[in-house]
Structures are given as C-alpha cells and as structure tokens.
Symmetry: C2
Subunit: 416 residues, 2 copies
Amino acid sequence: MAAGKAGEVERARRVPGQVKGPFVDVRMRGFAERSSLQAALAWVDAAARRLAAEAVKPEEAAGRVLTGAAPVVPVEPARAVEDGYAVRAQQTVGASPYGPLLLRLQDGGAPLGGDGAALVVAGRTLPAGADAILPFAAAQARGAFLEVLAPSAVGVGVERRDEGARAVAALPPTRPLRPQDAALLAALEVRSIEVVRRPRIRVVVAGPKRRADHLATADACGPLLKALLARDGALAEVLPPAEGRRGLAAALAAAGGPDAVLVAGRSAVGPDDDAPGALADVGELSLHGLAIRPGGSAGLGFCGGAPVVLLPGDPLGCLFAYELVAGRLIRRLGGRDPALPHVLCEAELARKVVSAIGFLEACSVRMVDGRAEPTGSPDEAGLASAVRADGFVLVPEALEGYPAGTRVAVHLYQPG
Amino acid sequence: MAAGKAGEVERARRVPGQVKGPFVDVRMRGFAERSSLQAALAWVDAAARRLAAEAVKPEEAAGRVLTGAAPVVPVEPARAVEDGYAVRAQQTVGASPYGPLLLRLQDGGAPLGGDGAALVVAGRTLPAGADAILPFAAAQARGAFLEVLAPSAVGVGVERRDEGARAVAALPPTRPLRPQDAALLAALEVRSIEVVRRPRIRVVVAGPKRRADHLATADACGPLLKALLARDGALAEVLPPAEGRRGLAAALAAAGGPDAVLVAGRSAVGPDDDAPGALADVGELSLHGLAIRPGGSAGLGFCGGAPVVLLPGDPLGCLFAYELVAGRLIRRLGGRDPALPHVLCEAELARKVVSAIGFLEACSVRMVDGRAEPTGSPDEAGLASAVRADGFVLVPEALEGYPAGTRVAVHLYQPG
C-alpha cells in the first residue's frame, strides 16, 4: 500500500476521530508525521468511559475505587473504644490522686445519672448522657462508688459514629480504598459497597515466542504488562503469542469482549510489523506514531467497540508507551485518577539531559544524595536504564533537554 | 493474679528476652509501666528472621523480593531493539540528506564488512562488528547499496545484554521487584529467580463477632489486617473469630505453623481482655503495654516458635500498632526493608499537634495547600481521623507536641 499524502495521513489520525480512515502503511518508510502526546491523551479521554459498578463486601474493598456515590452508613449512638468507666467529663474536672472525686457506680444499661459512672468495655455503646471514658488507671472502684483520680475530657475514648459516616462521605471517588477505609466501612457495618468493576484487559503479544537469534519480546512484554495492569487495578488476560498479520487480527477479534486490548510488538516500521495492519483489518487504526521517546511507534484504535493500544515490542518502549498513554486508558476505565500514578518530587539534575526537539521524552533517573542522575542515554535501548532508575523525568516536546542543576519534577516508582 | 512487683514486671518485659517470665495480669488495673517503641522494635528485630527462598518464574516475580544472590544471566551478544540497518557508527559520520554516504548492503548472518550495512528487525542479534542501528528514516536502499542520510552513534538502537546483566546484579535485595525488573529478567531469559517466600500470617480476631450493642471489632480489624498484610507482601489466613481465653489460646496454638500470628482485640486492661493471658497459657508473653498512642495495649510474644503480636481491637489502635510494630515484623520475615513503607515528605504543620509526654504518638494529617493539617485529636477514637488523612506525623516520646508552623516529616499513605 502506498504511503498516503498529507491529507490522507491527516484523516487517518483525526482526533478523537472514530471514523475509520484509510490505513497508512509505514513499514520500511518510517513515520511521515507523528501525533503529539496531547492528541493521544485526548483520544484516550474520548475513548475510555468509566466501567459499571459492582457490589463488594468491605473485606474485599481495599484497592477498589468508589463509583462516586458515598456508601450509606446506618446512624447509631456513640461507643466506647477503650475499657473503663463511662462518665460525664464535666464531673471529673479537678480530680487528682491526692484529691479524688467520687461518682456513683451504676448499671451501663440505664441513662447515666448526673454523678453516675458505668463500667464499659471497648466496643459497647455508651449509656445516654455519657461523653467520655475514664480509664481504669484513672479510677478505683470502692463499693458503690468510683474514686476518680484524674480528669477526663469530652470525647476521650469515645467513637462518634457520625464522625465515621462523615469521613466515609468524604472519601474521594477516584482514589483506591486504603486498608483503613475498608476497615471503617466494615466497622460502620456497611454490608455492600458500590465500586467500579475491574477492567478486563486482553494482552496480545506478537510472537513468535522465541527463535534462536531472537529477543524474547514476548517473554518480556507479557510480564511487564501483567504487572503494570495489576498496579493500575486491572485484570490481565495474556493470550498465547500471536504470529503474523492474520494471527494478530484473530487475537484482536477473538471472542470474550475485553474492556480494552493491549498489543505488544510489531507496531513499528519494520518489514514484519504487522500489528497496525492487523488492527486496520478487523477494526480501526485511529492514530499511529507518537511524538514520544521511548515508545514512539505506539498506536491507538478500536476493535469490536473496545479501545486498542498498540505498544512497541522493545520492552523500554513498551514500558513508556504504557506509562504515558495506555495506563491512562486503563485508569479511566477503572474509575481511577487518570494522571500518572507515581509520587512526584522535585530534585536538581545531577547531569544534563539531552532530548530530541519535537518529542516528549522520558528520561530514567536515579536519586543520588537527593539529586536526580540520568541512568542511561535516550538512545540506549533495553530495560537496564529503567531497572537502574528510581523514576523518570519528562522533557517537553519544545525543549532539547535540561542543563545540569535544573530543578525538575521526578516521577518516582513506588516499591512493589 | 496479683500485679507483679517492679522486678517481676522487668523480667516479664526483658528484651529481647525469650525466657518466659511470670504473666502479669493488667486487667482492671492499667499498665504499671510500658515498653518503649524502641524496645519493641529491638524485640521484633531479634525475633524475626528472613524466611527461606523459593524459585519463581519472571512473570510471577513482580512484587517479590530477591534473597540477595543476584540472578545468573546468560551472556549473549548485542541485539537490535529497533528496525533498520546494522552499521558501524563510524561509517555514518558526516552523512546528511544533501550529502548521503554509501554503504554496501549485505546479509545479516555474516560479520559486517568495513563499509557494510545489514537489514535487521528489532530483536535480532547484530552481525559481528555492527555497533549501531540506522533507522529506515535515515537510510534509503538503492540496489546493492544503502544511502545513509544521517549519522548514527555507537549504541543507538542496540541492546547490550551486559548492561542488562549489570542492572540485574545491582537490584537491591530488599526492594520488591517492579514491573520493569521482572520484565528485564524475562528478556534476559532468566528461567527461575530466587525470592523470599511470602510470610504466611495467621490473623486471630477476638470475638464475639457481633452483639446488638457491640462494636464490630471483628468486622473492622479482619479487613484492616488483611489489606495491610497484602501491602507488606504477606499471605493472610484470617481465622473465624475466637471467644474467651480458651478460644484465643486454641486459635493461637492451632496446627498449621504460620510464620507469625497477629491477634486483634482483647489486648488491653478490661475485664474480658483475655488475649495476653491466652498467649501466656500456650506460649510466652514477652512484652505487654507500649508507650505508643494509639495502640498502646499491644503486646509481643511467641507461640509454637512463631512470633505473636497482640494488637488492640480498637481499629485505630490496631492500625497504628500494626504500622509501628507488627508491620516491621512482617517486612523482616519477607526480606523487605523493615522501615515504614510510606513515602516521606517534609511539610509545615498548619495547626499545633498536642501529644502526651512519654508516648510516641502518631498524629493523622491531611495535606492542604502543601501544609499538614491534623485530622483529629489524639483522644478522638475510631478510624475517621485516619480515613480523612493523607498520612501521619510521629511525635517522639520526649515532646509534648509541635507548635503550628513546625516543619515535620509526614509519612504519606500510598494510593491503593
């Protein structure tokens, strides 16, 4: 197929154009032009809708994302969270070991008398009127009376459930629930929580799996994408490696209805780079060739109604095309914050970073004595630079790098 | 049982004394003295040994921790990571679209001639002598010759496997493997990786599971600990809630040989706080009562050779006793960095923090406009303050708090 003229290329890349344009074969030619990262992200934002909700129990809720509607919490009275005596705090003011005050011991089931005190164990509801717990160390029972040896204050040792309900109502909808969030929902006896369904993502790795002289792309990109998808809360279905344009097309179009498909390998401009053609055969190639490095042979499209991301088979390109483009799609589907999930820190560059003008470039860095030190040249391929790195720096399209000493934002990898 | 004299208390708390001391019953009395967090951590460090290794495949290695011995990587020649022509970079110096240089096209299987160029696709080994890839955009085949339109440089488009092997050898042994680490091991065709076995942790939650007026401690602490253990790389076996001293003792001593046991609830000084006694009955209570808040009723001991941590049933106390003490035990068993796993940032306090002298106190904070704002008073119980929080600040034992404006270290919760 002949390379398109400018107009055709433009139609094939219309953003967020979901009209199928003519397929432009870039094999053995290179990309005539590339889409900006911004255009790719606009495509992603238009293509990916948050998935539907499903109900989970609190003990399965950690790591899941609320749909936005805050869980409904039953209203109940305050409870003790430590053992001791339920009192009115006011009645303990001024007590000391040398000047103990006396309260009247009573049953915990009845409302608290004006000078009453009732034994409670952690977890029980407080008698009406009580507003504090006096710990055992601050009190001494003497027959029908309680010697108060130290003052308490309103709210000490007391859990107010409306506080919990308010905290639950304020949970941000895009942030995965943390251990304490799930536990509070459990403590509040919320039975069922509406969370966004986990995206089911098909991973198609272009084979062949191995030849004697062949880089194990399939071996590298499969584990890479599986782990990245797990990080972003998705379920990966990694298919057996697919061969050739026909094999890739079959894997793309296979039954099963995933929420999105990632294809790793055969995305570039080599003679056997069949992934773009395969996608055009069974779906739509909306955009191919991005102005990013590494990962510039990435592409975007649809198949069977599901968004498809073509990723390079070079594992470093696959990593950064995932981080910069595909990950946003996955996080949008899963209802998470679409922004990059790394912790951001500001640091001074220990050495200069060189970058190609016109490309958004990801430069791997490691942190040494609080400064960011590049771990590889942008032309050095392979995952070694990313494995040596603690994170990466993004150099915008318009710059040709940063001089040493520049303060830059570092996206830090998180442990695990 | 009578509270011990000072000498007895001391023996019961000897650190890291693994000699069984007399059991000191603190119920209805309060703690006569408390161990420092430092003493508790020294006990943990003495009690927890890194577990044995097991072999996993690269695709299962993300999130796992190396044992320290770097994986052995087979030595192989350099490979192309992009499509194009393998060349000697030296031969391309000075090339431009207006002054192209000519190279002789040859077969990729033979060593590269002095002015040779060979078509390669990403993943193939380079012909001997080649040290760079010339992309298709920078070259044009003309019969038996290749017009070079731009220079290349040594290493461009080439993956040197010794770089990968060096990066693998430098992987830190306590850091969980990241997606790119697992992928590089796969790309280097490492078949099997020695990682530390995941700790199997028994979680015993003190019941009863629910009474009409009873806080759902069992409901809250189970999900809390399950999620925290997952974060720290352990496998949780949450037993059905255990009742009473005898029930707790049976759960502690049950067959199954976990690597450690966490008991949540019944750890404090109430009349039904049976966990310390149960541990003393079937194992050893080495230390009970810590100078930390929340979480001060935590205890440490052994049962059947496995370390045991008693945690408060109050979910906030359970959370912080886990974070400050139990989590270190779990991470040590799993070969991880024993330090707190949160991201540290420095921030100014938006409001003062009040803390009890003699207690190491964890104060929940949220980040508002770059400043840390306390989310609850230290006496306010329940998980709400931790759910509203982005992290926490630790106030050392010797201080009674921090004034507003103090720059403090914030331990930030990570998403998920």
